[in-house]
């Protein structure tokens, strides 16, 4: 018990040190960010310089800016040579109730340098109607909160049977369509969805999994699952669905995005589809390039994910896919769970992990462990997902919203679940040693997160 009390105190201290969302929202009409390493993955800019934001927009930036000192009439923020980049765009976030969890998601996302999130339709109620899409849009307009866009359901009630009012929901603000955590089983429904969406140029997102093959599986099929006595999900469950979707896309045309690639074969399938000139994009999440099935250990439910963590060969293939550009984007796949739903026998526990706060740090490991340059990695969490979604964000551009992140790419960080700002602590990265900490997150010129301990 004494240990528990101690932990609580630590959390409080951390919360006090990190100035977050509401407390620190300062309406700065003019802010000068000086002494920064400016990185804009979209243009390839990587140079020392500064940035000026005015009324929430980027007024100016460049390597020569503020060479003669900071301007007057502006708040000055010294970046101390750290990276100043566009705020991160996260294509895949799960919230149960996007209306109420918006503020909490902002706290978590901002701590991770994320300024725009796409929320999956698997909410209660399901985002499958114009009214709900509009509701999320209204909440998103509130000051000091993260930019949030809905991915709307592709089928009514996420039942995989009848397609939704995609055109109308697109007009209302939905940026992509898919059934989120569930995948569409019926090939005919999928064909019609792709076909119908193609006339509007809408993006279809699917996390490919053959549901009947995945069956009651709870982790990767293989030796470890057999030893633990857990039902397995074979790699083929992902590949079969992905390959089918791509064959359908060949019939229909349109835009298809595969989410959370976890196997070597999947990376291969997308690589070949791209070589054939199909309009396919895809993403993966940090667990799939930073962990393998061994993380399940002795029934660690925080490592219960969907798709499941795969074997080491698959993990390496995912890293290669990221390096060679086959995998376009990196998402957090943030899925907060109350601890009650994780403190269960493995097969009974909910699948999913929180990921907003650890996305950047774990992705930065790629720049150290693979040939991926920093700017290339940042592209996968900024301009590339923005482009896939058709959002005008994720890049440094004069006149665009000042959604920014300042981070120290080298600051050591031992990830500690208890110190995450998210209410849910279900991260598989607890205890991981990494490098890279967010110093400040800015949304429309407002600082929404500041790790003051790093600026002390």
């Amino acid at each position: 018990m004494a240990k528990g009390a101690k932990k609580t105190r630590t959390v409080k201290k951390k919360a006090a040190a990190a100035t977050t969302a509401t407390a620190a929202s300062r309406a700065a009409p003019r802010t000068a960010y000086v002494n920064a390493r400016l990185i804009d993955p979209a243009s390839g800019l990587d140079a020392p310089g500064g940035l000026l934001s005015e009324d929430g927009l980027i007024a100016d930036f460049g390597s020569g800016l503020f060479a003669d000192g900071a301007p007057e009439n502006a708040e000055t923020i010294d970046c101390r040579g750290r990276v100043l980049a566009p705020g991160l765009v996260d294509m895949r976030v799960r919230l149960r109730d996007p209306g109420h969890e918006h503020r909490e998601a902002t706290v978590s996302a901002a701590a991770g340098g994320i300024t725009t999130i796409i929320v999956l339709p698997n909410t209660d109620p399901v985002i499958d109607s114009v009214a709900l899409v509009e509701f999320i849009g209204r909440r998103a307009g509130e000051a000091g909160l993260i930019n949030i866009y809905p991915m709307a359901a592709l089928t009514q009630g996420l039942e995989g049977k009848e397609i939704t009012e995609m055109g109308l929901m697109s007009e209302a603000g939905a940026v992509a369509f898919g059934d989120g955590i569930s995948s569409i089983d019926d090939s005919l429904v999928m064909r019609r969805a792709l076909s119908y969406a193609s006339s509007f140029g809408l993006l279809i997102v699917q996390r490919p999994e053959d549901n009947s093959l995945a069956s009651d599986g709870v982790m990767n099929e293989g030796e470890i699952a057999t030893r633990l006595g857990l039902a397995g999900i074979p790699n083929a469950a992902e590949t079969i669905c992905l390959e089918r979707d791509i064959r359908l896309l060949e019939l229909t045309g349109g835009r298809y995005h595969a989410s959370l690639l976890s196997t070597a074969d999947s990376v291969d399938v997308v690589r070949r589809a791209k070589a054939r000139g199909l309009n396919v994009t895809c993403d993966t999440a940090p667990p799939y390039f930073a962990l393998n099935e061994i993380a399940v250990g002795d029934y660690r439910t925080f490592a219960r994910l969907s798709p499941p963590l795969r074997c080491e060969e698959d993990r390496r293939a995912v890293v290669e896919g990221i390096e060679d550009g086959t995998i376009d984007a990196i998402v957090s796949d943030h899925a907060p769970h109350h601890q009650d739903s994780k403190r269960q026998p493995f097969a009974q526990a909910e699948s999913g992990a929180v990921g907003l706060e650890t996305l950047l740090a774990v992705a930065l490991d790629l720049t150290r462990e693979s040939s991926l340059p920093l700017s290339g990695m940042l592209g996968k969490v900024t301009c590339v997902p923005a482009d896939i979604l058709g959002l005008d964000t994720g890049r440094l551009r004069k006149g665009a919203a000042a959604d920014l992140v300042i981070f120290d790419a080298d600051a050591p960080w031992k990830i500690d679940a208890d110190q995450l700002l998210s209410k849910s602590k279900n991260t598989p990265f607890d205890g991981k040693l990494t490098q890279g900490r967010v110093v400040r997150s800015v949304i429309s010129g407002h600082t929404v997160f500041h790790a003051s301990d790093l600026d002390a």
Binding site: E223, A225, T226, G229, L230, G232, D298, P345, F346
Partner: protein
């Protein structure tokens, strides 16, 4: 206490149940649970000794101990014996625990089953895998049959009871290829006419199924004694 009559049925979580039981200050908890890993989870939350009475398809340690004891009483040893475990290996905690224990004790273990009833990478356990009884039982000392659950024999994992018995049910004909003194075991309860011929199961010259039950009592007594003997109030060593 059974899950169906306990508070688990009323929505209580396993950990809450563990805390409740722990509050009664028991010396030992014996737990059987349908989920793999559940007993380990529970054991992390209580202060007393926990005996795994079977968790999901993961482990059934006392069954393996009683099987080993039965074999050793009859054969005088475990090392060097060839043991064929036949049937639904995939869903069997008995198979997993026996493979571990018997391998440690120096027996050679085979698994014999249709591919649909074998878990992935079972070969990594150090066993030999067979899909036909004739090959799998050849020259073995022990034939250990496993129970096939009803819901798995009607077209899902195997086509029918009739077909399963024809190819995987143990009868005198299939047993011919085993050693003449090969013993037959089954953890019970048996499905006569499904995985084992009823007459063979009752053959006191070949079947040690009833002796397994008897050894079960002895092994479980020994487990309880070992765990409680170390308790301070019983005056044992600490």
């Amino acid at each position: 206490m059974s899950v169906s009559t306990s508070s688990i049925k009323k929505g209580e979580t396993l950990i809450d149940t563990a805390m409740t039981l722990n509050a009664m200050h028991p010396d030992v908890l014996v737990v059987r649970h349908p989920d793999s890993g559940a007993v380990q989870l529970l054991s992390e939350k209580v202060n007393c000794a926990v005996i795994n009475g079977g968790d999901g398809r993961h482990e059934h340690p006392t069954q393996a101990l009683l099987d080993a004891l039965t074999i050793r009483r009859r054969k005088g040893k475990l090392s060097g014996l060839c043991v064929a475990i036949c049937g639904d290996i995939m869903h069997s905690r008995v198979a997993r625990s026996n493979i571990r224990l018997l391998s440690i004790m120096g027996a050679r273990v085979r698994v014999v089953a249709p591919p649909t009833l074998l878990p992935a990478e079972i070969g990594r356990f150090g066993v030999e895998t067979f899909h036909h009884m004739k090959e799998g039982l050849k020259d073995c000392d022990i034939v250990m049959m496993l129970r096939l659950q009803l819901e798995r024999m009607n077209g899902s994992f195997v086509p029918s009871v009739r077909e399963y018995f024809r190819f995987y049910g143990l009868d005198y004909a299939k047993l011919e290829v085993a050693k003449p003194d090969a013993l037959i075991m089954h953890p019970g309860p048996m499905n006569r006419g499904v995985e084992i011929d009823g007459e063979l199961a009752d053959d006191i010259d070949r079947s040690v199924i009833r002796e397994q039950v008897e050894m079960g009592v002895a092994v479980r007594m020994a487990c309880l004694e070992t765990l409680t003997g170390a308790l301070p109030q019983s005056g044992g060593k600490t």
